[in-house]
Amino acid sequence: MREMHTGVAIREALTLAMEQDERVFLAGEGIGTSIHDNPLMPTYGLLEKFGSKRVKDTPVSEAAIAGLAVGASNMGLLPVVEIMFFPFMTLASDMVVNHAAKLRYLSGGKSAFPLTVRVKAGLFPAGCQHCHNLEAWMAHVPGLKMTFASNPADAKGLLLSAIFDPDPVIVVEDMGLYFMLGEAPEGDVRVPLGKARIARQGTDATVVAYGGAVHTAMAAAGMLEAEGVSLEVIDLRTLVPLDKETVLESLGRTGRLVTVHDATRFCGYGAELAAIAAEEGFASLKAPVRRVAAPNTPAPFTPPQVEYYKPGAEDVVEAVRSIL
């Protein structure tokens, strides 16, 4: 397979969707003309390619961007809008949470909102008003689907599925991965929503992760292999709907579960996984579930604290050792 950067793979998905279907349009702050003159960024060059009817630079107005997506999708278009950084979902959240997620339900199934919200996430030195992984908030809202890819192939395939999915999908993009190379297929190859991937097979413990944390888990698996410990790593790919079966089957084989995410621990997505293991996989558990996550503080700015904050492979190794 070809290798490409995740940012480019995302652009391929956007391009394919726009070529295939006139109903797809893009909107967001700086998605056409950006301060980043960088061909690895997902929307680079799309304004030139598709024109300003279909690639819309908006004012700085997250509520308007999200409302645009809700209204236009209800009229049958397939909006793909971008929220520049995850914390600014709070400004878009009335439209997304109270409208996109609820109006199908309130209409008794008459209305549809096939919209996609691309959200850029990641820990970079700008302080916590720019960096805040809010996936657990969004996952808590019935009516929203959510993807969180860890590699170029999935970023491309999940985005294509999201765009053509009949429901509102939040597509979280780990910005660090934009610059990461990996394999990705050519053409319209979709990754179905709600199907996890076994990133690495193993027998002693299961580590469940998503986004950039998958690479943390894989690094830990490499370190433990040297000590003769075999880790299975599951990349969830979609947080809602969750592929419980793959997680529980793996737990059934290994008997041990560790969850890893870059978001803070308390009420994080790992808590849901731990609860599922306790409720539905209790018989398989040979040890307590462990969660590896960021501390319960806002994201730091200063370099030594960023280092301390971000869950690393050593943290995963330690968590696994504590339950072997």
């Binding site: 301060i35 630079d57 004012p59 107005s61 308007a64 008003q129 806002p298 030594p304 301390y308």
Partner: protein
Amino acid sequence: MATAGDAGIRLQILEKMILSRRFEDQITELAEEQGRLPGMQILATGQEAAVAAVLALQDDDVIVTNHRSHAHILARGADPNTLMAEIMGKESGVNHGKSGTLHLIVPEVNVLMTSTVVGAAPPLAAGAAFAQQYTESGAITAVFFGDGAAAEGSVHEAMNLAGVWKLPLLFICENNCWAGAQSYQEHCSVGNIASRAGSYGMPGDLVNGNDADDVLKTARDLAARCREGKGPALMELATYRMHGHGEFDKQHYVDPEELKEWAARDPLTMYRKRLTEEGVATAEQIESMEQEAARIVEEAVRFAEESPYPAPEAVLDHVWAEARATR
């Protein structure tokens, strides 16, 4: 316009403009030397006449600002050493390395709050102004925001509330023609932002934001009005962002002719020239202001670079008033 009696404040304005320019030129240099500054650096280069709006205020007035705050904060008299240390993420920084350049908060000099969420400053400022009204303190709040921010609903909501409740709140929009890579024309449907004031029952004045005397006069008049209990006011400074949105941004989307035109109207050059021509400042005085600014900034960099980073575990501090957060 400026009168003979204004010589003192005009000299102060010039001094702070010089300091701000020197401080930010230093940041530009550090940003270019990889590794000497973490994060992105957002500068007010070209917008220094806003300093006059800060100096038009009284010391007990409160400022709420945004991501482009260095000039405002230096004009308030904050310590350049701890500001530079903060920008470098050091423990001795004004916010213990928690902020960096984007959310500098210096309550000691009444820089009450800073938000980098675009459009968030005005509603926060309405709260501050309400407190001033409530306690009959006689002070006012001035809030700085950009032309891009004026597109956020929160800005309109704050203006409406302030208008209805007659809050002592001076809205100061620094229209620097850009919001990220989007030009002013791309995000504003009318010619200027000042004209929106009418919708919220307050006066709105558009001033030459590169002319410190214009800024001073209008800010004084409008601040006096707020102080007299007549409610909020809006002033728009027509100015220009000379650097990109972050020092990595080389402004590939900007017409170089436009940059040249604005460079010819540099607020600092113009003010220096005017004060010399009017005999308010001598060339020697200005030269010594430049030298003093260079000394202050050199000292700030030395202080910041010699300061240690905060301890990694200090990431757990300041979440709550007392206890540390948990890992």
